[in-house]
């Protein structure tokens, strides 16, 4: 898949930052405790996701770069198979980013 960014770890990080700076300061008592636990969970999940990520995506990037160059050169103008592949790739990415999209 063409990598979409911010990736999972990056999203968890900014979600945690936003929670800590904009939400938690306004909470008190039990809710504050719940807010801090959510922040903890987001931090933990972020580290776990980062640790699991494939260390090297350069093969995908190189392949994407080659496809881009061929598209611009006009050699794929009628390549129904490439268009199909890109469609399936985009559908898989949308299933993650916004599964309700029609």
């Amino acid at each position: 898949m063409t990598p979409d960014r911010p990736d999972a770890a990056e999203l968890l990080a900014i979600a945690r930052t936003t929670l800590m700076t904009e939400i938690v300061p306004a909470l008190s008592g039990e809710q504050r405790l719940a807010g801090l636990m959510i922040a903890n969970a987001l931090g933990l999940a972020g580290r776990e996701v980062a640790a699991r990520m494939p260390p090297d995506e350069s093969a995908v990037a190189a392949e994407d770069r080659a496809v881009v160059n061929s598209i611009r050169a006009g050699v794929l103008d009628h390549a129904i198979d490439i268009h199909d592949r890109l469609l399936r790739d985009a559908e898989a990415r949308v299933a993650i980013a916004n599964p309700k999209y029609r």
Binding site: D4, P6, E10, I14, I71, H83, L86
Partner: protein, 342 residues
Amino acid sequence: MALAEANPPSALARWLAQALGADSVRITGWQRMSGGAVQENHALDCVVIVAGREQGHRFVLRTDAPSAVAVSRSRAEEFAILRAVHAAGVPAPRAIALCEDEAVLGRPFYIMERLDGIAAGHILVRDDKWQGDRVALAGQLGEALARLHAIRPPRSDLAFLGAPPADAAHAAIGKYRAWLDQAGLARPALEWGLRWLERHAPAPGPAVLCHRDYRTGNYLVAGDKVTGILDWEFAGWSDRHEDVGWFCAKCWRFGQNGREAGGIGARKDFYRGYAAAGGASIDPAAVAYWESMAHARWAVIALQQGERHLSGAEPSLNLALTGRMVAEIELELLRRTAPEAA
């Protein structure tokens, strides 16, 4: 520090009195309005005293955000555009006075009238309160666009817009590719769309003044009336079909896909308003093309917003999530650009 706290209202009040030709001005309210990452809007309530008579005024003060990026038009240019479109009969806030003297607020700003209405797209497309008036609203939005498009180059008051592009579509494609290269991004789906757009560009139409962000979310509605078109910072010379396509593109219908004119009304009512106000004939094929271009442009903008977050320049959950909208925008672009048989 926020603008209102950093500046004593007295300097602004003195400048306002001079700009309005008043004896004096009393500022009774000064509040930052929501929205606007690049520009700041402030709601300003004033009592203006002329010849001993007091009159209340509701203004918007618009200025650059402190971390302004130099991509959009300057406030002075926006002021000139507002003057021009208002004179052409486009519903838009009346631009009242421009201040380029940084001694007043520390940055250039201008004052315009504050119009009634709501702009929030997700509310406008869903609220049943508007259901009966959708025909009228779509018509008014078409009329407003036709009046805007009646402004043609050359215009000495709009000289800062530069020469009209000979071919707006190819110019846009070149710009998007250059940005992708500069950002080091390899996006096969977006590039597929750009190549398709390069091969299918219609013959360019005459250049007209385009808003270039004419969509639901950027106009105010009060009751059954469009009270004003907002956010003129991207205005420039282009093909009229660019604005029509941007307005109708699926990505700007706020989920109301059945209402093809901005999620607010029917395409035919929008076009009818455009024609009624003297707009040149709309070529459906050219609009369809520019709707595809709208998805390519929006994909580039979403990528840029994601990059603003990722680069550390402006960490923001909103920008980060916008970055991840690229997938659905690319999917839509691919759906619209299937290859024809060789």
